[in-house]
């Protein structure tokens, strides 16, 4: 195995500390994003996930400016944004999307200001790239303990709230009748999404963390038969894409004469290819053929 790896990949990839940090944090972020992403897609909140990811960039930019732990910055901003979306939001989906859009606009504006200050005060242009698109091989090891704590609490929260989350994504009225505090559960879900996107933001960047949240989940939901299975599958796809991306990016230093391709690009491309591969309608055809007369399914809209 290791001889195969060293034949395929540049030797040394597994002994460099930045690469190991990337492997550990990237893998952890992918697991959390996969698990949380499945619920996010099931609840029809991909847009909210995307908005949280983008808005957290303001926190990353602020952390850069103040010299704080970048994960802390992404996380705090994500939490603020999640709370904002929930408090502006109403039951109707269109109003929910408007609240999300409002917070997204304000957050990105703040991000523009902070990134501008980063660039002008630190006279470096790297900040914007790092915050938005990640710099996986330049993560400070100080990120690791906080990342571990954030990832663990996100997974624990999902495990704890698993059934109320599923039931309220099925139908809020049914959940209320079972005594589930639907709004509180919704807020908890958004907070967990904020945790997940903050973790991915330090690896693939704030903008691309949506890809890690939604992509593997979308693939897994096409294939898996149950929510739990979809979560495991999404986590696996995310980890495979992240580690694959790290290896390719590490290798690419060699092919490209020292510049290399950004890790984020490699990871997100792998996810997209997986999405295309799963997107072929084979499964739908099989299901339709297995159940003649059930071709016309209910409208896919959510009320």
């Amino acid at each position: 195995m290791s001889s195969l790896l060293s034949a395929l990949f540049e030797p040394g990839w597994n002994s460099s500390e930045p690469v190991l940090t990337a492997v550990v944090i990237g893998g952890g972020a992918a697991v959390v994003s996969g698990v949380v992403g499945v619920l996010t897609v099931m609840r029809g909140q991909s847009f909210a996930g995307h908005a949280l990811a983008d808005v957290s960039s303001a926190g990353g930019a602020a952390a850069f400016l103040l010299g704080l732990n970048p994960l802390l910055g992404f996380l705090l901003m994500g939490i603020i944004a999640a709370a904002g979306m929930e408090s502006f939001s109403a039951h109707r989906i269109r109003e929910r999307d408007l609240a999300t859009g409002g917070v997204l606009g304000a957050g990105l504006g703040l991000s523009a200001l902070l990134l501008y200050l980063d660039v002008t005060s630190k006279s470096t242009t790297g900040a914007a790239i790092t915050v938005m698109f990640g710099s996986m091989f330049a993560m400070p090891p100080s990120v690791v303990p906080l990342a571990l704590a954030v990832g663990t609490s996100a997974i624990l929260a999902i495990a704890l709230l698993y059934r109320p989350l599923l039931l309220s994504s099925l139908d809020p009225a049914l959940a209320r009748v079972r005594g589930v505090p639907v709004r509180l559960i919704g807020l908890c879900h958004l907070l967990v999404v904020a945790f997940a996107v903050a973790l991915s933001a330090v690896t693939v960047g704030a903008i691309l963390s949506t890809a890690l949240l939604i992509g593997p989940a979308a693939v897994a939901l096409r294939i898996a038969g149950r929510p739990g299975g979809a979560m495991l599958l999404a986590a696996s796809i995310g980890v495979a894409a992240t580690w694959g991306g790290i290896l390719i990016a590490y290798d690419s230093y060699d092919w490209t004469g020292g510049h290399g391709w950004p890790v984020s690009f490699c990871i997100v491309t792998i996810i997209f290819l997986a999405y295309l591969a799963a997107g072929c309608p084979a499964r739908d055809k099989v299901r339709a053929a297995a159940r003649p007369g059930k071709g016309s399914v209910q409208a896919a809209g959510r009320g």
Binding site: L166, L170, V177, P227
Partner: protein, 273 residues
């Protein structure tokens, strides 16, 4: 002091929504084991009344008393339909299981007892054949059965159903009514079921809550569905005609261009089956 209330007592409940009075001093009680139709035209307030009983709508005056006070623990609720993307991997079996413990924290244990309960419930509503199928893929009638199983698995004392017969064909309507009647007896459940057409319920229903103009006429079916009672409720002369085992409620204005009445009360339109 404990009032004599039966399983459900709706006590002089008035509801206003956006400043409009929807329910006006609605007052009735259901006794244990009653199978009751909540009848009214579109917009007469059936859903509003059910949501008030569930506690989702706060009455402007009056109150709802559920026997034992623990409202939600006692009520099973079947919404008219739920909209779920077929791409979501939630099977009929999962929906029914969530009826049992969807409010619990923590991961579900794959306990054999839970599986047996779910299987028995699926069997009882005739949903075994689509137990493994995704909820989003079910037909209207199949989804109805799945939702009934979801509501019943905790053996509620009171079952509320909102338009469970809408979108069903005649045979499914009859099958659903007799299924509900059988389950109500078996589980000793009180049932309140909304519909705009009372006829399919006639073989099963033993009491009626008839809504019109925000007010309700309630009692045993044969006491409520009478010309003088409904005339008082509608505020105009109404004839009740029994023909071939069906009941037709006909307003005096119907047939000579009283289009507003026909719109408000579709039962005014005489349909010959």
């Amino acid at each position: 002091m404990r009032e004599e209330s039966g399983v459900l007592a709706v006590q002089r409940v008035s509801v206003s929504l956006s400043g409009r009075r929807i329910l006006d001093e609605v007052d009735f009680a259901l006794h244990g084991g009653a199978f009751c139709g909540l009848i009214g035209a579109n917009g007469s307030g059936k859903t509003t009344l059910l949501r008030t009983i569930l506690g989702f709508v706060t009455p402007t005056s009056g109150r709802v008393v559920i026997d034992g006070g623990r409202r939600l623990a006692q009520i099973g609720y079947v919404p008219q339909k739920i909209v779920l993307d077929p791409a979501i991997p939630m099977r009929t079996r999962d929906l029914v299981g969530l009826g049992l413990d969807g409010h619990r924290l923590g991961l579900p244990l794959a306990a054999r007892a839970r599986r047996r309960l779910v299987d028995a419930m699926l069997e009882a509503v005739g949903a075994t054949s689509f137990a493994e199928q995704r909820v989003g893929e079910l037909s209207g009638g199949e989804q109805q059965r799945a939702l009934i199983a979801h509501a019943l698995i905790r053996r509620p004392r009171l079952l509320l159903l909102d338009e469970p017969l809408a979108n069903l064909d005649i045979r499914s309507i009859a099958a659903t009514v007799s299924l509900l009647r059988r389950l109500a007896l078996e589980y000793r459940m009180t049932v309140l079921l909304s519909t705009h057409d009372m006829n399919p319920l006639l073989p099963a229903m033993d009491c009626i809550v008839y809504l019109a103009n925000g007010r309700a006429a309630t009692g045993r079916t044969e006491d409520v569905v009478r010309g003088e009672v409904l005339s008082r409720l509608f505020g105009e002369h109404v004839d009740v005609i029994r023909v071939h085992g069906r009941i037709l409620v006909i307003a005096a204005g119907a047939g000579n261009g009283a289009s507003t009445d026909i719109e408000r009360n579709p039962e005014h339109v005489v349909q010959v089956p």
